[in-house]
Symmetry: C2
Subunit: 422 residues, 2 copies
């Protein structure tokens, strides 16, 4: 096995030194199974972070489906193939009846690009509203609306941002927070209209994951949807992080939060690591877009991706992963709330289902260094987690949904132990 130092040197000379690595001392993994990753040294790590291997690393059902289809046929959609139709029927059955059509891509970026492209065409407007700390992908259009990480592109003139409030740290009464946020949205929409951009869409993660899983005022999501639609815009729900049963209570984040979208974008967990994504929408929207564009994506919707996507849905059903996320998530949330009660520097337990965190603050100020310390301390205990939020002060516990009852205490005990060390 190549030493980390030697590998990093070769990595720097090929993909470059800017390709981000987790941890002060990066980890080199060589194999994985279920919710466990094995380092080059042989040490095993419990995966409390990765949502892409949704039904578990190297899941047997998914790998077998991929292998069988790849050994049989892999072709684009300009020839008929039943596999993608089978999968599409199964995928669409998980949505409300009005979301009855699907377009495929190869990444979350492609899905969000396509959703925005469709929204612009249908509305004739270009203005868009996103949260002021969010990330939706790597393309130029998406870089122009990225607010949650460093991009060289300035925010587009056609982009307005909305600050998603967090009642866990906002001292104002809930009703006041709600009114202020909706007033900010009204002003953003008016500003786009005055500038001549109009409103094409809002683009939000229904769980506001990158924002740090804020506890938002009741009625905020409904208020956003109502205002966006009244202004002629479409509602895009970015389910790249919040979808596929992650919330426990619902298959889709937008259903859990009542977002009622016109377009839903899917990515990361969809293929358990196989590059695939989708935009789910209605027949009317697809008709309008499809009839005005020759749209074709070479790789997307190939039968191998369809077989993989189908195996993910089957594995979720067979292992009841959404129900498991609900029950384990609730148990974990209870323990996290106990941590919040026990430690002064934990402001609040965050999240829902199997997307959880702890918000660190000292004297009312966000404490990103504490969060970083805990992430490294968890690594020392061979558990992978990360941190998020506008201040990077929120622990990000977002394991494969295949996370089990046996592993949960391992993660939470390690967290207790790490916190006691602070």
């Amino acid at each position: 096995m190549t030493s980390n130092a030697a590998l990093i040197a070769r990595r720097n000379r090929t993909i470059g030194p800017y390709s981000p690595l987790f941890y002060t001392e990066p980890l080199q993994f060589v194999s994985a199974s279920g919710v466990w990753l094995t380092e080059a040294s042989g040490v095993r790590y419990l995966d409390g972070y990765n949502n892409v291997p949704h039904v578990g690393h190297t899941n047997e059902r998914v790998v077998r489906a991929m292998h069988e289809q790849a050994a049989t046929l892999n072709i684009h959609t300009r020839y008929l193939n039943e596999r993608i139709v089978d999968y599409s029927e199964q995928l669409l059955a998980t949505f409300a009846p009005k979301l009855d059509r699907v377009l495929y891509g190869n990444s979350g970026s492609e899905a969000n690009e396509l959703a925005i492209r469709i929204a612009r065409q249908l509305t004739g407007a270009t203005g868009i509203i996103v949260s002021d700390y969010s990330y939706h992908g790597t393309t130029i259009t998406l870089a122009q609306l990225t607010t949650g990480l460093k991009t060289r592109e300035p925010l587009g003139a056609h982009v307005r941002t909305l600050r998603i409030p967090d009642l866990d740290s906002d001292p104002r009464p809930e009703s006041e927070v709600l009114a202020a946020t909706l007033a900010e949205l009204d002003a953003a929409i008016a500003s786009l209209q005055e500038a001549g951009f109009g409103l094409s869409a809002s683009l939000f993660d229904p769980l506001f994951s990158t924002e740090g899983m804020p506890r938002i005022p009741s009625g905020l999501v409904a208020g956003i949807v109502q205002r966006v639609r009244a202004a002629g815009g479409l509602v895009i729900a970015d389910e790249v992080q919040s979808g596929f049963g992650r919330t426990g209570s619902h298959m889709w984040g937008h259903a859990a939060t009542g977002m009622d979208p016109d377009l839903v974008t899917l990515g990361k967990p969809m293929g358990n690591g196989h590059p695939m994504s989708a935009v789910v929408t209605s027949e009317a929207v697809l008709d309008e877009f499809g009839s005005h564009n020759e749209f074709f994506n070479t790789f997307a919707a190939n039968p191998v991706s369809a077989a993989v996507g189908e195996a993910v849905l089957q594995e979720m059903a067979a292992e009841q992963l959404q129900a498991r996320a609900a029950s384990l998530g609730a148990a974990a949330r209870t323990r996290l709330e106990a941590c919040a009660a026990r430690y002064d520097f934990v402001r609040a337990a965050k999240g829902t289902g199997m997307f959880l965190g702890l918000d660190f603050a000292v004297d009312g100020a966000p404490a990103p260094e504490l969060a970083k310390q805990v992430v490294e301390a968890m690594k020392a205990r061979h558990v992978l987690i990360s941190r998020i939020g506008r201040n990077e002060s929120v622990l990000k516990v977002r394991p494969p949904l295949a996370f089990g009852a046996a592993e949960l205490p391992l993660l939470l005990d390690a967290l207790d132990d790490a916190l006691s060390e602070i």
Copy 2:
């Protein structure tokens, strides 16, 4: 097996009726091997069209590599993994020494997006020059510079187009064609500068595939490169169609035509159907981009994609596919030239290596209907080809590079037969 009519009805209710299908009566394939596809009815078709399954449909080496790695580990690049470094070293070894860094994506669209994004950042300009009949992907930015198929987006104000001439149909002397084309380019660059956009890049397929494989004046590519660079722009070579040994003479189309790019984009054949793509560039360009952006692509550069890409390179070497493309391509070209000599309605044989065609014209006017007739007549003979070019009058013969000496006469005899029927 589902009937075509029943499958189309289900397809229309899921992915919609706009998802394009080849042929008046579409084909439904259920399996494939090498250069042969098998229809639902059991009939086998010779694949003279598909370049994505580059080393052959369901290639054993590629499928095995994918399976082994998918059963071992599939993870993103924020942990160290040797597999992507191994592959990157092998891939970069096929480029000129100055092209020594690589960034990965999941599709040709993502690669072209990233190349343009980099070019814009490095130059501070947004102007771009493309050919007036070309296609580079599905995103908003790429739709704004699409000239070769229907998109609802108008051409961007920052986009200028260049007509790529074809000496096979242009009556003027070569030197006059060259001078006129370069003058058109000079005017395009001046226009971008006057409008305040400046020049960020030129974006061309080195073989001008979508344009119909024109026979261009000697010195045109060098003249384009010289002018683009003199105006401060970067040269992007889109190798999605022309790369990976397709020309026979060279691994890369830009090397075959002397394009000398700053950025090279790779796609379709790279993973033999597995969704993967890349931008190859220099250390200096990567340094400038990487140091100003947090750039990360979740799926890209995962070890499964790396294993697949490596298997494609290994298979190309083991089967000497580039050399085979050179020898078989030359033999095929000779037969196509004989067709051009024999039939009045064939204006010229087109292409190089294993990217070949025939240009149909009647009384000097392009004859797309004849090309369409031949494509359908070839289908009736169980051979897949297509057509391209600004008039859709050029046959597109672009088989998997695994096409063999045994299959070539089958294709060419079928073509002779189909032509004799016109």
